[in-house]
Amino acid sequence: AQSVAQPEDQVNVAEGNPLTVKCTYSVSGNPYLFWYVQYPNRGLQFLLKYITGDNLVKGSYGFEAEFNKSQTSFHLKKPSALVSDSALYFCAVRRGGSARQLTFGSGTQLTVLP
């Protein structure tokens, strides 16, 4: 079985400050890891992924995430937060190989304060 934990339901950060949204995972075999963002009354929008290669991956809108195998983590980061980054963020994992569906974390509501 695979699982994802997002330990913080809510993260508040001031505009211009760095932000981190935490994610840890559990999966057998090599993990494929993803971050998605959801704005109100919208579907999920893909931000970035880790499949293999460099542990630091860069994605849309200046976001990046660092894969840490020993800590089984995949935290989402951005050096300077914008008010428009305020949204619901989901971390997801799937097992490499034949299993395709994503297992999602419970989501973290990010609020960037002006």
């Binding site: 579907g43 893909f46 499949i51 395709r100 569906q101």
Partner: protein
Amino acid sequence: GAGVSQSPSNKVTEKGKDVELRCDPISGHTALYWYRQSLGQGLEFLIYFQGNSAPDKSGLPSDRFSAERTGGSVSTLTIQRTQQEDSAVYLCASSSQQGAPLSYEQYFGPGTRLTVT
């Protein structure tokens, strides 16, 4: 280009009625997924179609739920005898499972908000 589309965007139905939700994936994407998003359960996988292979139905919560994908493109999720606990946002996603390198990420539609009264 066009993304994943879903219809209707909102559906209100009475308990016990059947509903059909439609998903039109990105053109050329061979994989199609249905998920359900609800306050109590978060995002749950329901069913997965890949090409002409038998679908993975392991996430369907009961036999009242079924889905089909016609011609390898459009998919319909059917819920029979709806219950209040079926109220949720139903999300469809598609991904490309062909080409090199594979993209792996899934692209989501805007969802159908189902309310069972």
